[in-house]
């Protein structure tokens, strides 16, 4: 491995951060997640190039699905990289893909909500949330963390029970905020097929949660 100099990154802006961590001519490709995390642990800025290389496209797509704004999406992805840089170590995610994906989603939603209050933005989020309304029978707020954890556990159980294509479609739509058209293209099916399947899966989720005793 090359020796590299750790750079103090804790206090610089995301934009400046992005400029610093992707130096030309220091490309890293094809690293495994373990190797990338190892680079993070050694504070080697090539870790960010590697994450960008491996997951940049996915992150960008998620951010754009939510924000529907290229500039915001790019800034969101840079925020994600900064967050990953700051959190690994001490974090040692078992799945770097999921880790980066979740941070991107959360950063994008955070930004989306902030911008919506300023009457900006758009994206898939309003549509997705409206679609989820049919899964929700009680409009009351669930405040207890324990209850949230139980519901989340049940949702994971439900997802586990789904056939892979249906699960991928559902997760792509409601977790990664992907458009129906994009899902259809990726899975090689029609948009109508995706829509119908999503509707059935939402209904199945509602029934599943009811059986589990959650009238959400």
């Amino acid at each position: 491995m090359n020796n590299s100099t750790a750079i103090p990154l804790s206090d610089i802006t995301a934009e400046a951060f992005s400029e610093r961590v992707f130096p030309c001519g220091n490309e890293v490709t094809g690293l495994t997640d373990t190797e990338i995390i190892s680079l993070f642990n050694s504070r080697d800025e090539r870790a960010l190039s590697a994450v960008s290389e491996k997951y940049g496209s996915s992150c960008a797509r998620i951010a754009r699905n939510i924000l529907k704004n290229d500039q915001d999406a790019e800034e969101c992805v840079n925020d994600t990289y900064l967050k990953v840089w700051e959190s690994i170590p001490p974090e040692r995610p078992t799945s770097l893909c999921a880790y980066v994906t979740k941070i991107t989603r959360n950063k994008a939603i955070d930004r989306y909500r902030s911008e919506r209050s300023e009457k900006r933005g758009g994206g898939e989020v309003p549509l997705i949330i409206d679609e989820l309304e049919e899964c929700v029978t009680d409009s009351g707020s669930v405040e207890l963390a324990a209850e949230r954890r139980e519901i989340l556990k049940a949702i994971n159980e439900f997802l586990e029970s789904l056939p892979a294509p249906k699960r991928i479609a559902f997760v792509s739509r409601y977790c990664l905020c992907e458009t129906v058209a994009s899902i259809a293209k990726r899975l090689g099916v029609t948009q109508n097929s995706v829509s119908v399947n999503l509707g059935r899966t939402r209904k199945a989720l509602t029934e599943f949660l009811k059986r589990k005793g959650y009238e959400i």
Partner: protein
């Protein structure tokens, strides 16, 4: 539940579902065409120049002995089940015309003739890259198993990813990654990736092989209690040429790198550069063919050497004669004792308690000196010390030297004849023996003595508690522990390795790692106000401030934790969607005041940080 809450909750589903959904399009990732600075994310290097550089590496690649055993597609390896087995892949097919052939992709996963993860290597399937896109991930490449070597009940598979020809170089095959996997009963049961190559100054970092794969091979040495696989390959980067050897242990259905990545500091992965043939001696000795022998400590296999060393070693003199052999088994590394600065004053104690990964000694002066100059008692004492501390000598490369301890051999005039430095990673540096090294010390006035010449605390595993906060009337305590380092004789606290530990009734219940922008603190007072315990109406907890310089804008920020039973829970702001172990970083100021009845902390700007213990949240109520 509100629909927005369900939406938020769906962002927290199990990671494997996200992996699955994201991975579903990994072959053709969608991109945002922003029409502007996407180059910031995907900087394009100069792969053609890199390949020229990589190609240069091939010039020195015909180095290994070659005892090829044909392993063609669909044949399940070969080689004897005992002793040394060497497998090279012999390919007789000519390379395809790089300009005209279609890319042959690997067959689908469900094919049954897989070894490890990929199908057997076939030259005709290797695509040629003609137009480069900057990222190897965007190029047409294939993955394949290069060789299969029998090892008892296992097949040891050498696999490569991202294999390709480069246009104009029909004799060289490039691969983006290499690793070994262990296959048993036709199923991959373990694998361990070889270290990634250093990235070239520009372009891709790849392994380069001759097209017949004659310069990459796997040797398997079966020992009594375990086996060793040695992968020899060519390393081709702009600044490092030559052959490398990677050693892996095989035992109990696991294959593990014997020189793994340093888990503590991410130091470079050492490799052993064998210039001679590996020869199994007896059942457990590997001789490099030079005057150094490695005695494999088979009992310690399957462990990362940074956790448990694998090698014991004999000291040899320049004639190859064994001076002494230190072959005791290493104990598992323990962190039960945390060395403090005061411990380091006692060098014997330090050596005896060092968590040793490996030791490197300049063989000739030490061994010769031991023979000629030390009295039996003196020699015995030194060797006992080394043996009791499980210190051994190897010729591992020197790098990463930072702190450590140096033992010197001195004459009575205080002239240093030779020294042994145990460095940061507890390797021994080559001694700085003088050019006019002279062993002519036989008279009483020239009695040799061993003395401590320098003391520099190590910075790896040793650490000490530098701050303790007990939470009033509770079972809980919070400690700040940091590594002790040394530089130019000055002791400092290495806060990059700082950890906050939480205990309840003396039992550890949690650890929190925080990053630090300034990693060397010499003034312990910096840590005085770093932990703020609080006991409030609805709960108990503490805040910790990241270790930062005063100039940092986030200097006065803290993260907050709740204590309940044996659980330490990070607190988050309601708007923080990126939940990680370190909770939300919030401004706390320099003199925060706790208001227990309001579950609040008042900051110096008058705002209140209100803790919702039930929901693990912390909110700002502005003044």
């Amino acid at each position: 539940m509100k629909k927005t809450q369900l939406f938020d909750l769906l962002g927290e589903i199990d990671n494997k579902f996200l992996d699955e959904a994201v991975g579903a399009d990994s072959e053709k990732p969608l991109k945002i065409d922003t029409g502007r600075s996407s180059v910031r994310w995907y900087h394009v290097a100069a792969p053609i120049a890199a390949c020229l550089v990589l190609g240069a590496g091939v010039a020195v690649s015909m180095y290994f002995r070659s005892s090829p055993v044909p392993v063609g597609p669909g044949s399940q390896g070969s080689g004897s089940a005992s002793g040394s087995t060497s497998t090279n892949v012999t390919i007789s097919d000519p390379p395809k015309d790089p300009n005209s052939d279609p890319i042959v992709l690997e067959p689908p996963e469900e094919k049954t003739d897989y070894y490890g993860k990929f199908p057997m290597f076939a030259l005709e399937n290797v695509p040629t890259i003609t137009n480069t896109h900057g990222s190897l991930n965007e190029e047409p490449t294939v993955n394949a198993t290069l060789s299969v070597t029998k090892c008892g009940e296992y097949d040891v598979c050498l696999s490569a990813e991202k294999i390709f020809f480069h246009e104009g170089e029909p004799d060289t095959i490039y691969a983006g990654a290499l690793y070994l996997s262990l296959v048993k009963d036709g199923k991959q049961i373990s694998f361990d990736g070889l270290p990634w190559m250093s990235a070239a100054t520009s372009g891709w970092a790849c392994y380069a092989f001759d097209k017949d794969l004659s310069n990459i091979s796997v040797d398997v040495i079966e020992l009594t209690d375990a086996s060793v696989a040695a992968v020899r390959y060519n390393k081709a980067t702009s600044d490092e040429f030559g052959t490398e050897c990677e050693l892996l242990s095989i035992k109990d259905d696991k294959i593990s790198r014997m020189f793994g990545t340093d888990v503590t500091g991410g130091s470079p992965t050492p490799t052993v550069n064998f210039s001679e043939t590996l020869i199994p001696i007896g059942n457990s000795i590997v001789d490099t063919g030079k005057n150094r022998e490695y005695v494999c400590n088979v009992d310690a296999f399957n462990n990362n050497p940074y956790e448990t060393p694998h090698f014991t070693t004999r000291f040899c003199n320049v004639k190859g004669e064994v001076v002494t052999q230190l072959s005791k088994k290493y104990p598992d590394k323990t962190e039960s004792h945390n060395t403090t600065a005061s411990d380091l004053e006692n060098w014997k104690y330090f050596i005896e308690n060092a968590n040793v990964s490996r030791i490197e000694i300049q063989l000739e002066p030490v061994s010769t000196a031991s023979n000629l100059l030390l009295s039996p008692e003196q020699a015995s004492e030194i060797l006992d010390l080394l043996a009791s501390a499980e210190l051994e000598a190897t010729d591992a490369p020197t790098y990463g030297a930072g702190g450590g301890i140096t033992l010197g051999l001195y004459d009575t005039q205080n002239n240093c004849l030779a020294s042994i430095g145990i460095t940061t990673f507890l390797r021994v540096d080559y001694g700085h023996s003088g050019d006019n090294y002279d062993f002519n010390f036989k008279g009483d006035n020239n009695a040799l003595q061993l003395k401590l010449s320098e003391i520099i605390p190590p910075v790896t595993e040793t650490s000490e508690i530098i701050m303790t906060k007990n939470i009033d009337d509770s079972d809980y305590s919070v400690y700040l522990r940091a590594a002790v380092g040394g530089e130019n004789g000055e002791i400092y606290y290495d806060t990059t390795k700082a950890v906050f530990e939480v205990s309840r009734n003396g039992k550890d219940i949690g650890k929190i790692y925080l990053s630090a922008s300034d990693n060397k603190q010499t003034d312990v007072n910096v840590f005085n106000n770093i932990i703020l315990p609080f006991k409030m109406k609805d709960g108990i907890g503490f805040a910790i401030c990241p270790i930062r310089n005063e100039g940092s804008p986030r200097y006065k920020c803290a993260t907050f934790y709740k204590l309940e039973g044996d659980e330490v829970t990070a607190l988050y702001a309601p708007t923080d969607y990126a939940h990680v172990d370190a909770g939300t970083d919030m401004y706390i100021g320099t003199d925060p005041q706790i208001v227990p009845e309001e579950n609040a902390i008042v900051t110096d700007d008058g705002n209140k940080l209100v803790i919702d213990f039930q929901n693990n949240l912390i909110s700002v109520v502005e003044n």
